[in-house]
Amino acid sequence: MDYPVDNLDDAYNACHPDKPLESGDPRYLDLKDVRNKKSVNTLATRIIRTSQTEDFCKQLVTGHTGCGKSTELKRLQKHLENSSYFVIFLDVENSLDLHQITYQDVLLNIAQGVIEALAKQAINLDKGLLNDLDLLLAEKIVTHEYLTEAKASIGIDTQAGIDIFGIGKFITKIMGEVRSGSSHREQIRERIKGVQQEFIAKLNDLLIAARVKLKTKGHADIVFIVDGLEKIRESATYNDLFIEHAEQLNEIGAHVLYTIPIALAFNANLGDFFANDVFFMPMVKYQTPEGKQYLADLIDKRMQVALLFADPALLQRLIAMSGGSIRDLLRLIRIASETEESQIKDVDIDRAISHLVKEYDRLVKEEDVEFLKEIAAARRVIKDKDKRYERLLSLRLVNEYENGKPWADLHPALREISWLQAKLTAPN
């Protein structure tokens, strides 16, 4: 498709609320100027600098859902690859059970990630090392009964001389157990816990060996981007992973970037556990002329606004309703494009906005009202002791912006919910 597109049929498909842009996509627009100058390039620099020392960079990244985080992470990956880094992108959503994820699962995922990524590049790791990890898994982690089961399934596929597939399968099998919540899962985790230091040491041996091999192929270092962890919902789960077991996550002998839930970034003093500041990607400040212009430009890269909107001012109505969330903006355009006409008109904008307002209405609860009122008045995220702000942030009922310093506001759609607005404006 040639962007910007010149008809509504294509415009609908140029605006996806569900797909991050791949790096190099012509629709990409760098928004750092309206994100308080924040850019993933900073992270790339940080990783590259650290990699010139003996240290490993552990970086936490967060931001509101739908603010363009995944698109930016994909850009970071490309940036690092262009600087000859070997980047392993792990989407835990596909491989782990986020409901009850633990640090053991993350360690296993990293081990599996490196084994598979190297196998894909046909880079052979030292056989002794792999056997070593295999042995640890076989003897210490997997029960006997389960071992025979796993062995049997390897037997079918094993081919002479390709040990790596055997191991890959073995670890995949374990990951399957961990993923599916089988009764073995707890057992596997307990056993890893029991031999934790040994397991991490073996994993790090593996990473060292991988790095050595990769350097001979011209790669500077390995970087893991672990995406999807921001979707953990229960605070007990993410606190256990990122606070209770920060030490284990820090011990991994590679640069690792983890996405974290926005609520965690707000409620914990993560600086005590991770050396680097959390990288927070703010919402685009859609309230300022500059922000409005950037968002209009972002849409103009996708579709010819002057041609496809009956009046370009209509787009500004959608931007004003987006709260600076790229995802909400793209969705508003999709809904507005559901017309038989060739241009988006007033009525379509009205309908799109009323849809978004009704959808946000589903999220607001009676008991949120007082707190929303307080936040609206204070124009910042109030960190109350009941942590009510967690829900509001993670559902985008409250958005945080940065304009030199952070400040917050209610999502503009909330101002259009009539029952809520009546309460928000009522005197105390």
């Binding site: 609320p17 849809h355 589903r362």
Partner: protein, 511 residues
């Protein structure tokens, strides 16, 4: 509802937009449709099929093929044309079975749908959409659009009428698991349609039935919420009959939770109302339920007195289902007293009635209890046969409480035969169920049994901790049967009796 196609597009203007969106969407797109009733859904789907050039693949979800939704979808798509649109129905059926997990699963496996490269439309009742927005926000956030469709007022009323007429009294015991789930969905939908309207007898009645359905599936907290809501309505509009039924139903939940004080509190109120308004059927039921508290506390004479009063009333008014239940309960008193002959006779009468009137729950219960008589007499094979029949029924009708109890009883057969490993396996299954549904009395019994096996295997540490847990629980809820067994166990172990457990348990508060 026989509107023509052009009518339906006029009647539901959003349908035009949904059709447009599906025409436009290339590759993946996630769409939600809010539609509370199946007839309306069928109408809308028919209109879309007639007005879209692309094929529509329909995936109705059922609890029977209870696997990841994405696996089912992948199988269907394998044979589909590239531009096919997927309609997914009945997510609410899985939701009622697996609670929140089914929603969380959507949140964490959304990548799958993204890779599917087809538009995916989820059709569901409005309440479930709100759940998804709140519990699976990442998934909901991928939506391209949400389209709401509601019935007009007269359509709502006629639908409610026809639904209502097909729901009889005491219907829960006759339903299979699938039927129960369908009913839960129907009733939830009706209640959603009624949400804006004021309190009415109909609404209270719907809530009682919904509560009974939840209770029969072991979802006691949900049941309690329904009952509390219906109680409020009934008290507001002065529906005495309904109020007494609800009070009784609430007491049943607390009975399962083992809170006998609260049970009495509710039952006495309920009994008073029944006697005031001359509701014989209710009175028979409450007398029967009262007996069960005294039974649990070991006061067999009082229990027997209530049961005989209940039986009299139920026979007088021809309440067959009630008669079957009371006969069953009578048998249990005689069994407890060691009078197996009389117990057997009552049970056989009870079984006959249950089978006559198709009361599955009663039948399962009779089979289970019959097995206990044969077990007590040492005829393990007959006992096991009855238990297996009982288990089958519980599983068919989704009665978790029954399943937990029968699994426990099966374990006892293996225990008696000296096969401790198998016994333990059944006990663990039973425990799992009882903990899930909050069946405290059942859990307590099962814990005692598990402890016993550990004692027999000479696993002192586990034995002690499990037995202590059972002791604390039994003491807390006053479960006589288990306390008595614990007394005997302590003596067998060479201690002075029940007091010994207390010495092991000085500072720790009961649960």
């Amino acid at each position: 509802m026989t509107s023509t196609l052009s009518d339906i597009f006029t009647q539901h203007p959003e349908l035009k937009h949904l059709r447009r969106a599906l025409q436009l969407c290339k590759g993946f797109g996630l769409y939600f449709v809010s539609c509370n009733t199946v007839p309306l859904r069928n109408e809308l789907v028919a209109a879309l099929k007639a007005n879209l050039a692309t094929p529509i693949i329909e995936l109705p979800l059922t609890p029977e093929n209870d696997i990841f939704i994405d696996a089912q979808m992948a199988a269907l798509l394998a044979a589909a044309s590239a531009d096919a649109i997927v309609f997914i129905y009945d997510l609410e059926k899985l939701y009622h079975l697996k609670d929140r997990y089914v929603i969380q699963e959507l949140n964490w496996r959304r990548e799958f749908y993204g890779r599917a490269n087809h538009p995916v439309v989820f059709w569901m009742p409005d309440f479930l959409l709100t759940e998804i927005f709140n519990e699976a926000p990442d998934f909901a956030d991928w939506r391209s659009g949400l389209y709401e469709f509601t019935l007009s007022q007269p359509e709502q009323l006629s639908l409610m009428q026809s639904t209502w007429e097909s729901v009889g009294e005491n219907f829960v015991g006759q339903l299979s698991l699938t039927e129960k789930e369908r009913w839960i969905v129907n009733l939830e939908n009706l209640l959603a349609e009624l949400a804006g309207q004021e309190a009415s007898k109909t609404k209270g009645d719907l809530l009682i039935r919904l509560g009974m359905l939840y209770k029969s599936l072991g979802k006691h907290d949900q049941a309690l919420v329904c009952y509390q809501q219906s109680l409020q309505i009934q008290q507001r509009i002065g529906d005495k009959q309904g109020e007494s039924a609800t009070l009784n139903n609430i007491s049943v939940i607390y009975h399962i939770k083992g809170d006998y004080g609260i049970v009495l509190f509710y039952l006495e109120q309920s009994l008073q109302i029944c006697q005031d308004i001359g509701n014989k059927q209710g009175e028979g039921a409450i007398l029967n339920n009262l007996s069960q508290i005294y039974h649990a506390q070991g006061d067999y004479d009082t229990a027997l007195r209530y049961l005989k009063q209940s039986l009299q009333i139920r026979q007088d008014i021809g309440d067959k289902q009630g008669e079957g239940a009371t006969l069953n309960n009578l048998s249990q008193i005689y069994k407890a007293k060691g009078d197996y002959g009389i117990a057997l006779r009552y049970l056989e009468q009870s079984l006959l009635i249950s089978q006559d009137i198709g009361d599955k729950q009663g039948e399962g219960s009779a089979f289970n209890n019959l097995s206990q008589i044969y077990h007590a007499q040492g005829d393990y094979d007959t006992a096991l046969r009855y238990l297996e029949q009982s288990l089958q029924i519980w599983q068919d009708i989704g009665d978790k409480e029954g399943e937990g109890a029968t699994l426990n009883n099966i374990s006892q057969i293996y225990h008696a035969k000296g096969d401790y490993d198998t016994a333990l396996r059944y006990l663990e299954q039973s425990l799992q169920i009882q903990q899930n549904i909050g069946d405290t009395a059942g859990e307590c019994t099962t814990l005692f049994n598990i402890g016993l096996i550990h004692w027999q295997n000479d696993e002192q540490q586990q034995a002690l901790s499990t037995s202590l847990k059972a002791y604390r629980m039994a003491k807390h809820i006053g479960l006589a049967q288990v306390l008595q067994s614990l007394d005997e166990l302590a003596k067998d172990l060479g201690h002075e009796g029940l007091a010994w457990w207390e010495t092991l348990n000085p500072a720790e508060p009961a649960e």
